[in-house]
Protein backbone atom coordinates (compact mmCIF):
# COMPACT_ATOMS: atom_id res chain seq x y z
CA UNK A 1 0.00 0.00 0.00
CA UNK A 2 2.88 2.35 0.62
CA UNK A 3 6.47 2.78 -0.36
CA UNK A 4 7.43 1.52 3.09
CA UNK A 5 7.50 -2.03 1.73
CA UNK A 6 10.37 -0.95 -0.42
CA UNK A 7 13.87 -1.07 0.96
CA UNK A 8 16.65 1.19 -0.27
CA UNK A 9 19.96 0.41 1.41
CA UNK A 10 23.26 2.10 0.78
CA UNK A 11 26.22 -0.29 0.56
CA UNK A 12 29.47 1.65 0.11
CA UNK A 13 28.84 3.71 -3.01
CA UNK A 14 25.93 1.59 -4.22
CA UNK A 15 22.21 1.60 -3.61
CA UNK A 16 20.58 -1.77 -3.03
CA UNK A 17 16.85 -1.67 -3.78
CA UNK A 18 14.55 -4.60 -3.04
CA UNK A 19 11.16 -4.57 -4.75
CA UNK A 20 8.20 -6.31 -3.03
CA UNK A 21 6.57 -9.32 -4.82
CA UNK A 22 3.46 -7.56 -6.07
CA UNK A 23 4.13 -3.82 -6.20
CA UNK A 24 1.14 -1.50 -6.76
CA UNK A 25 1.34 1.79 -8.66
CA UNK A 26 1.91 3.82 -5.48
CA UNK A 27 4.84 1.61 -4.48
CA UNK A 28 6.28 1.87 -7.99
CA UNK A 29 6.06 5.67 -8.06
CA UNK A 30 7.54 5.72 -4.56
CA UNK A 31 10.42 3.59 -5.82
CA UNK A 32 11.44 6.23 -8.34
CA UNK A 33 11.22 9.07 -5.77
CA UNK A 34 13.24 7.24 -3.15
CA UNK A 35 15.91 5.99 -5.52
CA UNK A 36 16.48 9.48 -6.93
CA UNK A 37 16.47 11.06 -3.47
CA UNK A 38 19.02 8.52 -2.24
CA UNK A 39 21.17 9.09 -5.33
CA UNK A 40 21.34 12.78 -4.44
CA UNK A 41 21.90 12.20 -0.76
CA UNK A 42 24.71 9.62 -1.03
CA UNK A 43 26.12 10.53 -4.43
CA UNK A 44 25.96 6.83 -5.27
CA UNK A 45 27.71 5.40 -8.32
CA UNK A 46 25.05 2.90 -9.11
CA UNK A 47 21.75 1.25 -8.27
CA UNK A 48 21.11 -2.47 -8.03
CA UNK A 49 17.40 -3.23 -8.31
CA UNK A 50 16.64 -6.71 -6.99
CA UNK A 51 13.38 -7.74 -8.64
CA UNK A 52 13.70 -11.47 -7.94
CA UNK A 53 10.55 -11.51 -5.74
CA UNK A 54 8.45 -9.94 -8.51
CA UNK A 55 6.30 -12.39 -10.44
CA UNK A 56 4.17 -10.05 -12.53
CA UNK A 57 5.10 -7.07 -14.62
CA UNK A 58 2.76 -4.47 -16.10
CA UNK A 59 3.52 -1.69 -18.55
CA UNK A 60 3.53 0.99 -15.84
CA UNK A 61 6.14 -0.86 -13.80
CA UNK A 62 8.21 -1.53 -16.91
CA UNK A 63 8.09 2.11 -18.01
CA UNK A 64 8.98 3.33 -14.52
CA UNK A 65 11.97 0.98 -14.36
CA UNK A 66 13.23 2.19 -17.70
CA UNK A 67 12.64 5.89 -16.87
CA UNK A 68 14.24 5.57 -13.46
CA UNK A 69 17.32 4.04 -15.06
CA UNK A 70 17.55 6.97 -17.47
CA UNK A 71 17.20 9.46 -14.59
CA UNK A 72 19.85 7.67 -12.56
CA UNK A 73 22.04 7.83 -15.67
CA UNK A 74 21.55 11.58 -15.83
CA UNK A 75 22.64 11.77 -12.22
CA UNK A 76 25.79 9.88 -13.10
CA UNK A 77 24.93 6.37 -11.93
CA UNK A 78 24.50 2.91 -13.44
CA UNK A 79 21.37 0.85 -13.00
CA UNK A 80 21.51 -2.92 -12.88
CA UNK A 81 18.33 -4.97 -12.69
CA UNK A 82 19.00 -8.26 -10.98
CA UNK A 83 17.17 -11.57 -10.75
CA UNK A 84 14.32 -11.18 -13.21
CA UNK A 85 12.22 -14.34 -13.35
CA UNK A 86 11.71 -16.19 -16.67
CA UNK A 87 7.95 -15.56 -16.71
CA UNK A 88 8.50 -11.85 -16.10
CA UNK A 89 11.06 -11.72 -18.92
CA UNK A 90 8.57 -13.33 -21.32
CA UNK A 91 5.91 -10.77 -20.37
CA UNK A 92 8.39 -7.94 -20.72
CA UNK A 93 9.30 -9.01 -24.24
CA UNK A 94 5.64 -9.46 -25.16
CA UNK A 95 4.78 -5.90 -24.10
CA UNK A 96 7.71 -4.69 -26.15
CA UNK A 97 10.05 -3.81 -23.33
CA UNK A 98 13.67 -4.58 -24.04
CA UNK A 99 15.33 -2.34 -21.41
CA UNK A 100 18.03 -1.45 -23.88
CA UNK A 101 19.61 1.23 -21.69
CA UNK A 102 19.55 -0.89 -18.56
CA UNK A 103 22.05 -3.53 -17.57
CA UNK A 104 20.79 -6.81 -16.21
CA UNK A 105 22.30 -9.50 -13.99
CA UNK A 106 21.25 -13.04 -13.10
CA UNK A 107 21.34 -12.22 -9.39
CA UNK A 108 22.53 -9.60 -6.90
CA UNK A 109 25.90 -11.34 -6.56
CA UNK A 110 26.64 -10.96 -10.23
CA UNK A 111 25.31 -7.42 -10.26
CA UNK A 112 27.89 -6.51 -7.62
CA UNK A 113 30.58 -8.25 -9.71
CA UNK A 114 29.58 -6.14 -12.69
CA UNK A 115 29.92 -2.95 -10.72
CA UNK A 116 33.35 -3.88 -9.41
CA UNK A 117 34.67 -5.06 -12.79
CA UNK A 118 35.16 -2.94 -15.89
CA UNK A 119 32.11 -0.76 -16.49
CA UNK A 120 29.66 -1.45 -19.32
CA UNK A 121 31.14 -4.84 -20.07
CA UNK A 122 28.46 -5.83 -22.55
CA UNK A 123 29.06 -2.87 -24.83
CA UNK A 124 32.74 -3.68 -25.07
CA UNK A 125 32.01 -7.04 -26.65
Amino acid sequence: MSADRLSVIRIRDLLMVTVPPDPDDVTISGLQQRVLAAMEQYEAKGVVLDISPVDTLDSFFARTLSETAQMVGLMGGRTIIAGMRPAVAVTAVQIGLTLRKIETALNVDRALDMVSSKPQLKKSL
Binding site: R85, P86, V88, V93, A105, L106, L125
Partner: protein
Amino acid sequence: MRKPTKAPAAGSTAASPLVDKVQTSDLLHLLVDSVKDYAILLLDKDGKVLTWNAGAERIKGWKANEIIGQHFSRFYAPEDIAKGKTETELKVTREEGRFEDEGWRVRKDGSRFWANVIMTALRDKNGELVGFGKVTRDLSASRAAQDKLKKQAQEIMEMATVPVVQVWEGIVLVPLIGMLDSQRTQQLMERLLQRVTETSSPFAVLDITGVPTIDTQTAQHLIETISAVRLLGAEVILTGVRPVIAQTLVHLGIDLSNVLTRTSLAAGLRLAISTLNENAPARTERAV
Protein backbone atom coordinates in the same frame (compact mmCIF):
# COMPACT_ATOMS: atom_id res chain seq x y z
CA MET B 1 -14.31 -86.52 -23.36
CA ARG B 2 -15.70 -88.11 -26.47
CA LYS B 3 -16.92 -91.66 -26.16
CA PRO B 4 -15.53 -93.81 -28.95
CA THR B 5 -18.72 -95.87 -29.23
CA LYS B 6 -20.80 -92.99 -30.55
CA ALA B 7 -20.24 -91.62 -34.04
CA PRO B 8 -20.16 -87.83 -34.46
CA ALA B 9 -23.37 -86.27 -35.79
CA ALA B 10 -23.01 -85.46 -39.46
CA GLY B 11 -22.71 -81.86 -40.63
CA SER B 12 -22.56 -80.47 -37.14
CA THR B 13 -19.92 -79.15 -34.82
CA ALA B 14 -21.90 -80.71 -32.04
CA ALA B 15 -19.67 -83.72 -31.91
CA SER B 16 -19.79 -84.24 -28.19
CA PRO B 17 -22.41 -86.53 -26.67
CA LEU B 18 -23.13 -83.74 -24.19
CA VAL B 19 -24.72 -81.80 -27.01
CA ASP B 20 -27.19 -84.53 -27.66
CA LYS B 21 -28.76 -83.79 -24.34
CA VAL B 22 -28.60 -79.99 -24.33
CA GLN B 23 -29.88 -77.87 -27.21
CA THR B 24 -27.26 -75.66 -28.91
CA SER B 25 -29.45 -72.63 -28.38
CA ASP B 26 -29.34 -73.30 -24.66
CA LEU B 27 -25.56 -73.46 -24.86
CA LEU B 28 -25.54 -70.19 -26.71
CA HIS B 29 -27.66 -68.69 -23.94
CA LEU B 30 -25.21 -70.00 -21.41
CA LEU B 31 -22.29 -68.50 -23.31
CA VAL B 32 -23.90 -65.07 -23.56
CA ASP B 33 -24.97 -65.16 -19.94
CA SER B 34 -21.57 -66.10 -18.59
CA VAL B 35 -19.25 -64.00 -20.74
CA LYS B 36 -17.72 -61.42 -18.43
CA ASP B 37 -15.54 -59.45 -20.84
CA TYR B 38 -18.35 -58.22 -23.05
CA ALA B 39 -21.65 -56.65 -22.21
CA ILE B 40 -24.03 -58.45 -24.56
CA LEU B 41 -27.63 -57.35 -24.55
CA LEU B 42 -30.76 -57.20 -26.64
CA LEU B 43 -32.81 -54.08 -27.17
CA ASP B 44 -36.37 -53.93 -28.49
CA LYS B 45 -37.30 -51.83 -31.53
CA ASP B 46 -37.52 -48.67 -29.42
CA GLY B 47 -34.23 -49.22 -27.60
CA LYS B 48 -35.52 -50.68 -24.33
CA VAL B 49 -33.30 -53.30 -22.67
CA LEU B 50 -34.63 -56.87 -23.07
CA THR B 51 -31.75 -59.02 -21.80
CA TRP B 52 -28.70 -58.50 -19.59
CA ASN B 53 -25.63 -60.68 -19.08
CA ALA B 54 -22.84 -61.04 -16.51
CA GLY B 55 -20.49 -58.87 -18.57
CA ALA B 56 -23.04 -56.07 -18.72
CA GLU B 57 -23.44 -56.18 -14.96
CA ARG B 58 -19.67 -56.15 -14.47
CA ILE B 59 -18.97 -53.32 -16.92
CA LYS B 60 -22.00 -51.10 -16.41
CA GLY B 61 -22.89 -51.87 -12.79
CA TRP B 62 -26.66 -52.42 -13.02
CA LYS B 63 -28.22 -55.78 -12.09
CA ALA B 64 -30.62 -57.34 -14.59
CA ASN B 65 -33.76 -56.53 -12.58
CA GLU B 66 -32.71 -52.89 -12.28
CA ILE B 67 -32.24 -52.21 -15.96
CA ILE B 68 -34.46 -54.52 -18.00
CA GLY B 69 -37.31 -52.51 -19.50
CA GLN B 70 -35.38 -49.24 -19.31
CA HIS B 71 -34.22 -47.26 -22.32
CA PHE B 72 -30.57 -47.73 -23.28
CA SER B 73 -29.95 -43.98 -23.04
CA ARG B 74 -29.20 -44.73 -19.37
CA PHE B 75 -25.70 -45.72 -20.54
CA TYR B 76 -24.99 -42.32 -22.11
CA ALA B 77 -23.74 -39.03 -20.77
CA PRO B 78 -26.32 -36.22 -20.55
CA GLU B 79 -24.52 -34.20 -23.23
CA ASP B 80 -24.66 -37.16 -25.65
CA ILE B 81 -28.37 -37.64 -24.99
CA ALA B 82 -28.92 -33.92 -25.59
CA LYS B 83 -27.18 -34.26 -28.94
CA GLY B 84 -29.59 -37.07 -29.85
CA LYS B 85 -26.82 -39.67 -30.00
CA THR B 86 -29.04 -42.57 -28.97
CA GLU B 87 -31.62 -41.90 -31.70
CA THR B 88 -28.86 -41.47 -34.28
CA GLU B 89 -27.35 -44.83 -33.32
CA LEU B 90 -30.69 -46.63 -33.65
CA LYS B 91 -31.39 -44.90 -36.96
CA VAL B 92 -28.00 -45.81 -38.44
CA THR B 93 -28.33 -49.41 -37.26
CA ARG B 94 -31.86 -49.65 -38.75
CA GLU B 95 -30.71 -48.30 -42.09
CA GLU B 96 -27.30 -49.90 -42.44
CA GLY B 97 -27.74 -53.00 -40.33
CA ARG B 98 -24.76 -52.18 -38.13
CA PHE B 99 -23.25 -49.37 -36.08
CA GLU B 100 -19.89 -49.14 -34.37
CA ASP B 101 -18.66 -46.43 -32.03
CA GLU B 102 -15.94 -45.66 -29.53
CA GLY B 103 -16.62 -43.15 -26.81
CA TRP B 104 -17.44 -42.41 -23.19
CA ARG B 105 -20.31 -44.30 -21.58
CA VAL B 106 -21.76 -44.01 -18.10
CA ARG B 107 -21.90 -46.63 -15.35
CA LYS B 108 -24.64 -46.98 -12.76
CA ASP B 109 -22.60 -44.99 -10.22
CA GLY B 110 -22.18 -42.14 -12.71
CA SER B 111 -18.52 -42.84 -13.43
CA ARG B 112 -17.44 -43.01 -17.07
CA PHE B 113 -15.60 -45.61 -19.08
CA TRP B 114 -14.18 -45.64 -22.60
CA ALA B 115 -16.27 -48.10 -24.60
CA ASN B 116 -16.25 -49.82 -27.93
CA VAL B 117 -19.89 -50.41 -28.94
CA ILE B 118 -21.24 -52.51 -31.81
CA MET B 119 -24.97 -52.53 -32.55
CA THR B 120 -26.58 -54.96 -34.94
CA ALA B 121 -30.11 -54.81 -36.34
CA LEU B 122 -32.02 -58.05 -35.77
CA ARG B 123 -34.60 -58.93 -38.43
CA ASP B 124 -36.96 -61.89 -38.78
CA LYS B 125 -37.33 -64.08 -41.91
CA ASN B 126 -39.53 -61.45 -43.61
CA GLY B 127 -36.96 -58.76 -43.00
CA GLU B 128 -39.09 -57.14 -40.31
CA LEU B 129 -37.04 -55.39 -37.59
CA VAL B 130 -37.52 -57.15 -34.24
CA GLY B 131 -34.83 -55.51 -32.14
CA PHE B 132 -31.15 -54.76 -31.73
CA GLY B 133 -28.14 -56.66 -30.46
CA LYS B 134 -25.59 -54.60 -28.58
CA VAL B 135 -22.06 -55.64 -27.63
CA THR B 136 -20.00 -53.30 -25.47
CA ARG B 137 -16.36 -53.61 -24.43
CA ASP B 138 -14.66 -51.58 -21.72
CA LEU B 139 -11.47 -50.16 -23.27
CA SER B 140 -10.59 -47.79 -20.40
CA ALA B 141 -7.41 -49.68 -19.52
CA SER B 142 -6.03 -49.75 -23.06
CA ARG B 143 -6.99 -46.14 -23.58
CA ALA B 144 -5.15 -45.13 -20.40
CA ALA B 145 -2.10 -47.05 -21.62
CA GLN B 146 -2.35 -45.34 -25.00
CA ASP B 147 -2.60 -41.90 -23.40
CA LYS B 148 0.46 -42.64 -21.30
CA LEU B 149 2.44 -43.72 -24.34
CA LYS B 150 1.37 -40.61 -26.24
CA LYS B 151 2.43 -38.40 -23.33
CA GLN B 152 5.82 -40.09 -23.08
CA ALA B 153 6.37 -39.74 -26.81
CA GLN B 154 5.52 -36.06 -26.57
CA GLU B 155 7.96 -35.52 -23.70
CA ILE B 156 10.72 -37.20 -25.68
CA MET B 157 9.86 -35.06 -28.71
CA GLU B 158 10.06 -31.90 -26.61
CA MET B 159 13.45 -32.91 -25.31
CA ALA B 160 14.61 -33.66 -28.83
CA THR B 161 13.19 -30.52 -30.42
CA VAL B 162 14.77 -28.08 -27.99
CA PRO B 163 17.71 -29.58 -26.13
CA VAL B 164 19.28 -27.15 -23.68
CA VAL B 165 22.58 -28.43 -22.28
CA GLN B 166 25.04 -26.93 -19.89
CA VAL B 167 28.39 -27.36 -21.67
CA TRP B 168 30.59 -25.33 -19.34
CA GLU B 169 30.38 -23.65 -15.99
CA GLY B 170 28.23 -20.64 -16.84
CA ILE B 171 27.41 -21.60 -20.44
CA VAL B 172 24.28 -23.30 -21.73
CA LEU B 173 24.15 -24.49 -25.33
CA VAL B 174 21.10 -24.94 -27.54
CA PRO B 175 21.94 -26.85 -30.73
CA LEU B 176 18.95 -26.25 -32.99
CA ILE B 177 18.41 -28.69 -35.85
CA GLY B 178 15.67 -28.56 -38.46
CA MET B 179 12.99 -26.01 -39.26
CA LEU B 180 11.89 -23.66 -36.53
CA ASP B 181 8.13 -23.18 -36.33
CA SER B 182 6.42 -20.91 -33.85
CA GLN B 183 5.61 -23.79 -31.47
CA ARG B 184 9.27 -24.81 -31.32
CA THR B 185 10.51 -21.27 -30.81
CA GLN B 186 7.96 -20.86 -28.01
CA GLN B 187 9.29 -24.02 -26.32
CA LEU B 188 12.81 -22.80 -26.95
CA MET B 189 12.16 -19.54 -25.15
CA GLU B 190 10.56 -21.22 -22.14
CA ARG B 191 13.19 -23.93 -21.73
CA LEU B 192 16.13 -21.64 -22.34
CA LEU B 193 14.98 -19.04 -19.80
CA GLN B 194 14.33 -21.82 -17.30
CA ARG B 195 17.76 -23.36 -17.74
CA VAL B 196 19.61 -20.03 -17.67
CA THR B 197 17.95 -19.24 -14.34
CA GLU B 198 18.49 -22.72 -12.88
CA THR B 199 22.16 -22.86 -13.79
CA SER B 200 22.84 -19.14 -13.23
CA SER B 201 24.63 -19.09 -16.59
CA PRO B 202 25.77 -15.69 -17.85
CA PHE B 203 26.01 -17.09 -21.39
CA ALA B 204 23.60 -18.91 -23.67
CA VAL B 205 24.96 -20.11 -26.99
CA LEU B 206 22.26 -20.55 -29.63
CA ASP B 207 23.62 -22.66 -32.47
CA ILE B 208 21.63 -22.53 -35.72
CA THR B 209 24.05 -24.53 -37.89
CA GLY B 210 21.37 -27.18 -38.42
CA VAL B 211 18.59 -24.75 -39.30
CA PRO B 212 18.04 -24.85 -43.08
CA THR B 213 16.32 -21.46 -43.54
CA ILE B 214 15.00 -18.60 -41.48
CA ASP B 215 11.92 -16.52 -42.29
CA THR B 216 10.84 -13.17 -40.85
CA GLN B 217 8.64 -14.75 -38.21
CA THR B 218 11.30 -17.15 -36.99
CA ALA B 219 13.88 -14.37 -36.86
CA GLN B 220 11.42 -12.26 -34.85
CA HIS B 221 10.94 -15.13 -32.40
CA LEU B 222 14.70 -15.53 -32.05
CA ILE B 223 15.13 -11.82 -31.36
CA GLU B 224 12.39 -11.99 -28.71
CA THR B 225 14.11 -14.96 -27.10
CA ILE B 226 17.43 -13.15 -27.10
CA SER B 227 15.81 -10.04 -25.54
CA ALA B 228 14.18 -12.14 -22.83
CA VAL B 229 17.45 -13.90 -21.97
CA ARG B 230 19.15 -10.50 -21.69
CA LEU B 231 16.48 -9.30 -19.29
CA LEU B 232 17.44 -12.18 -17.02
CA GLY B 233 20.97 -10.82 -17.02
CA ALA B 234 22.58 -13.30 -19.39
CA GLU B 235 24.02 -12.77 -22.86
CA VAL B 236 23.15 -14.75 -25.99
CA ILE B 237 25.69 -15.67 -28.64
CA LEU B 238 24.15 -16.74 -31.94
CA THR B 239 26.42 -19.19 -33.70
CA GLY B 240 26.33 -21.17 -36.93
CA VAL B 241 25.31 -18.18 -39.02
CA ARG B 242 26.09 -19.64 -42.44
CA PRO B 243 26.37 -17.49 -45.60
CA VAL B 244 22.83 -18.44 -46.72
CA ILE B 245 21.38 -17.44 -43.34
CA ALA B 246 23.37 -14.20 -43.28
CA GLN B 247 22.11 -13.32 -46.77
CA THR B 248 18.51 -14.13 -45.85
CA LEU B 249 18.65 -12.06 -42.68
CA VAL B 250 19.98 -9.00 -44.48
CA HIS B 251 17.52 -9.35 -47.38
CA LEU B 252 14.64 -9.64 -44.95
CA GLY B 253 15.85 -6.45 -43.29
CA ILE B 254 16.28 -8.11 -39.90
CA ASP B 255 18.60 -6.14 -37.68
CA LEU B 256 20.82 -8.35 -35.55
CA SER B 257 23.52 -5.71 -35.13
CA ASN B 258 23.19 -5.72 -31.35
CA VAL B 259 23.25 -9.50 -31.11
CA LEU B 260 26.56 -11.26 -30.66
CA THR B 261 26.98 -13.56 -33.65
CA ARG B 262 29.72 -15.94 -34.73
CA THR B 263 30.08 -18.21 -37.73
CA SER B 264 31.13 -21.33 -35.89
CA LEU B 265 30.03 -22.83 -32.62
CA ALA B 266 33.70 -23.09 -31.61
CA ALA B 267 34.19 -19.34 -32.05
CA GLY B 268 31.07 -18.67 -30.01
CA LEU B 269 32.22 -20.90 -27.16
CA ARG B 270 35.69 -19.32 -27.24
CA LEU B 271 34.14 -15.87 -26.92
CA ALA B 272 31.95 -16.98 -24.00
CA ILE B 273 34.78 -18.71 -22.15
CA SER B 274 37.28 -15.87 -22.59
CA THR B 275 34.71 -13.35 -21.35
CA LEU B 276 33.97 -15.53 -18.34
CA ASN B 277 37.72 -15.74 -17.59
CA GLU B 278 38.09 -11.98 -17.86
CA ASN B 279 35.48 -11.58 -15.16
CA ALA B 280 36.85 -14.36 -13.00
CA PRO B 281 39.66 -12.38 -11.25
CA ALA B 282 37.14 -9.86 -10.01
CA ARG B 283 35.10 -12.67 -8.47
CA THR B 284 38.01 -14.38 -6.73
CA GLU B 285 39.27 -11.11 -5.30
CA ARG B 286 35.91 -10.53 -3.74
CA ALA B 287 35.83 -14.01 -2.29
CA VAL B 288 39.17 -13.58 -0.49
